[in-house]
Subunit: 394 residues, 2 copies
């Protein structure tokens, strides 16, 4: 258990309490939270903010991203999204920075009858979880967003699914972390053994695999950025998540005039932009909102999401390594999960005991599958077993 | 009339014989040809090669570009294309440079029945001019280029329509011009009166309008550049000019793996890239050649072609200004017209008498329309009148 200004810290002034590997939003937010509690923190990254977050659209969409079979992940998304307003306010106060945090909500739409049928099945599931999803008639859709194509067949509103601009978020988090006392170290970390800190937090995205052996793989995502002509704002204000002739696409409008159109989900690790991906994204975007054809195309880019076998993040101590905490594998959800990850990892660093919210996301869920299968048959024994392991981390 | 090392040159050693405004392919080729004849030449451009040529695909296509109602232009295109093999060889010999000059020919194709009907009408016209166009059956098309989509309905071969890479051509021309003694001056020319040379050649593309008052307007063209994956060459060797669901698109393969996909023709002068243009180009390209979806998208770019009221270049002395020669307004044809423009303008500089080939492209054709309408009614009188004017230029 670490507390601010610990005795050991006084003995060895150069040894940090926490070394964070990775200065993306997760790593920087963890560093901020830890430094704010009085811990000495270093953050190691040769190029802060250059990973998946530089490509991400920044949707805070626990509702629209609530998929079949991912109930535990949905719970964490909802929890983190609920923390976002306070997190954004705190961050803005700590830094004076603008984050592009917007709360107009998300419109989910289906272009064709087939698209709508697919979407409605998901909306019904989301409603069955008690999530706020309001189906809209086409006329209501167009009242919300007149720029939608007339042929869009139907949609639904997820009013609590918001957005933030990751390219504003990351510098703000860096400022906040540094103002709280965290120190950025620009070197590349090739081995965790090279770090000398009481606790190491691996928030290295796809880089976590090489550092820890965790099953984190790159999931390529291609994104196109447009800009409304003549310096004006985009002609719509909601985040649009659409199904268009079987293609899934989102359109995220920014106050700056930018519109992010994304994203492919590809099982490969390169970052080249392909003609076919740009074609599919633009075609779906323009079908849903014809005026986008007149927008400037300002960027095409690809990033690598840190994916995991069950699409959920990996949060907590490595098996047998209570001094090494993983905070990675956030896949499509790194931005929305930033507040809860930062809070719970900072709690774990300082308190030594993982919050129950972290239980489904433990690193050992991939290695201990055989054991836990046995244990789950034993019911209570499983919980007891888990508690013992958790206590051993402190 | 200017000749190499003229007496006046000896009197005033700093005054150039020829000042060329614009270091695109036209300006540089004129400079090369003039310098090679012993004239002292300066070329004025703050950014050589940064104009339309940096966007151009480099098709040498007098046949595929032979359109209804442009017979005189077609004649000049054919003449210049015929000079290209010698021009390329001379340039390669003078510089040792690679130009990406390729002679596989051009396949013209129609995707749908409607596309093919439109294309066939043009091919018939081109054949009626005696130009080499060979209709191909779909099976023959696929023998020539197996990568074409199976649904392409038909096509024709223009074996003499070749290609060159403008991004290799311009540096080679610059080297050739400089080796021949031309001097590049990096300044911006705002007024022709600021230049002190015996003859000024305005090869400034769209910039010619402000310098001369000639009716040259920017015609925007957007282009996408792809690259074959894994460092290989493209999967096709002919230039492809296609009609795809009413969209006209060309695909130009390079030895480097690059494929140029172009181009829009827009009556506007900005150089922003629009989402709609990229969408239309990529859609047509992928419909004609599906494997292009897997190619990397490496560049989206827009340029400004120097267009004229009759789509033909403006070549020759300004009205009443025998010392100022225009070599601009090449619109879509700047690369193919480079050899003939350079040869005939250099002839005019040194000989003082315009080649008969230049007659349809005289600068005064826009201002003297009323006169020539009268004169053409008079038949022979017109020719006599024209000869007199030409002689007055020497």
């Amino acid at each position: 258990m670490l507390t601010g200004r610990s005795p050991s810290a006084h003995v060895d002034r150069v040894r940090p309490d926490v070394a964070v590997v990775g200065a993306g939003p997760i790593g920087l937010a963890v560093a901020w939270r830890c430094a704010a509690r009085g811990l000495r923190v270093t953050v190691h990254d040769p190029a802060p903010g250059s990973g998946a977050s530089s490509v991400a659209a920044g949707m805070l969409s626990p509702v629209a991203e609530a998929y079949f079979g991912e109930r535990e992940l949905t719970g964490l998304l909802v929890e983190s999204a609920a923390r976002w307003p306070g997190f954004a306010a705190e961050l803005a106060e700590a830094t004076g920075a603008t984050l592009g945090y917007r709360t107009e909500g998300t419109l989910m739409v289906g272009l064709t009858g087939d698209d709508l049928a697919e979407a409605r099945r998901l909306w019904a599931y989301q409603q069955s979880l008690g999530l706020p999803v309001t189906p809209l008639r086409p006329s209501e859709l167009r009242t919300h967003e007149p720029a939608l194509a007339p042929r869009v067949r139907g949609g639904a509103l997820a009013p609590t699914d918001h957005q933030v601009d990751p390219r504003l978020l990351v510098p703000a988090l860096r400022t906040a972390a540094e103002r709280a006392g965290a120190v950025l170290v620009p070197g590349v970390v090739r081995r965790l053994a090279d770090l000398d800190a009481a606790v190491t937090v691996v928030a290295a995205g796809c880089g976590a695999a090489a550092l820890t052996g965790l099953p984190v793989r790159p999931v390529k995502g291609q994104v196109v950025r447009l800009r409304a002509p003549d310096g004006g704002p985009p002609g719509f204000r909601h985040v649009i998540r659409g199904y268009a002739d079987g293609e899934h696409v989102y359109l995220v409008p920014r106050d700056t005039g930018e519109v992010v159109v994304g994203a492919t989900v590809e099982e490969r690790g390169d970052t080249t932009v392909s003609a076919g991906a740009v074609l599919r994204l633009l075609r779906a975007a323009v079908e849903l909102m014809p005026e986008l054809a007149e927008y400037d195309l300002v960027e095409t880019v690809a990033g690598r999401r840190p994916g995991t076998p069950d699409n959920a993040p990996i949060l907590g101590a490595l098996p047998g390594r209570p001094d090494v905490l993983a905070a990675t594998g956030h896949h499509r959800h790194g931005i929305v999960l930033t507040p809860v990850t930062a809070d719970l990892i900072a709690d774990l660093v300082t308190g030594g005991v993982p919050d129950p919210l972290l239980a489904p996301f433990r690193p050992d869920r991939f290695t201990a599958r055989a054991d836990s299968a046995d244990a789950s048959a034993a019911g209570v024994a499983d919980a007891a077993n888990q508690r013992t392991e958790e206590e051993s981390w402190s």
